[in-house]
């Protein structure tokens, strides 16, 4: 296990990973400040 969430930053890459791993994507829109 990691000690922090390893966030992806590009949606196309995240969707490719989701297809490969059979998972859903958690898309978090955060306040950039």
């Amino acid at each position: 296990m990691t000690n922090a969430i390893q966030w992806e930053t590009a949606i196309n890459h995240a969707l490719d990973m989701a297809k490969k791993e059979g998972k859903s994507v958690l898309l978090d829109f955060f306040n950039p400040g």
Binding site: M1, W7, L15, A18, E21, K23, S24, F29, N31, P32
Partner: protein, 151 residues
Amino acid sequence: MDAVTYPDPAVIDFISEALIPLRVPSDDKPLSEDFNVKWTPTLITLGPDGKEHHRTVGFLEPKELIARLLLGEGKYFFDSDKFPEALKTFEKILTDYKNTDAVPEAIYLRGVSQYKNTGDALPLKAAYEILSKDFPGGEWTKRAYPYRLIG
């Protein structure tokens, strides 16, 4: 979320194992416009095809976040006609996260998934009976109200 929820070990483990986490600023265009994001944090569960299945807005403490993410996962399975997988996910909310605010919706969707999986409407009535007993006056109890007439 960054101060309390995302550093929580249970949250890290759950998200790392169950999901592909993707984080973008709320002013990232065209993505924020495509998803009509107006406030943060906005958390959306997407299927591998990029379609939205669930959304939550606002802070959630660790257990509530995991329960909501399970709800999103279950809805993805449900929307994909994977009813046994959806049932398993909603059951997990009801056993492992039974004190969270996700429970009433999970009871409702468990009943609907059972119906979709078998064609037997009695689980819909059972869902209403549980909801009316445990959450009288609640939103999901009201939505299940017509199911009292089944059987």
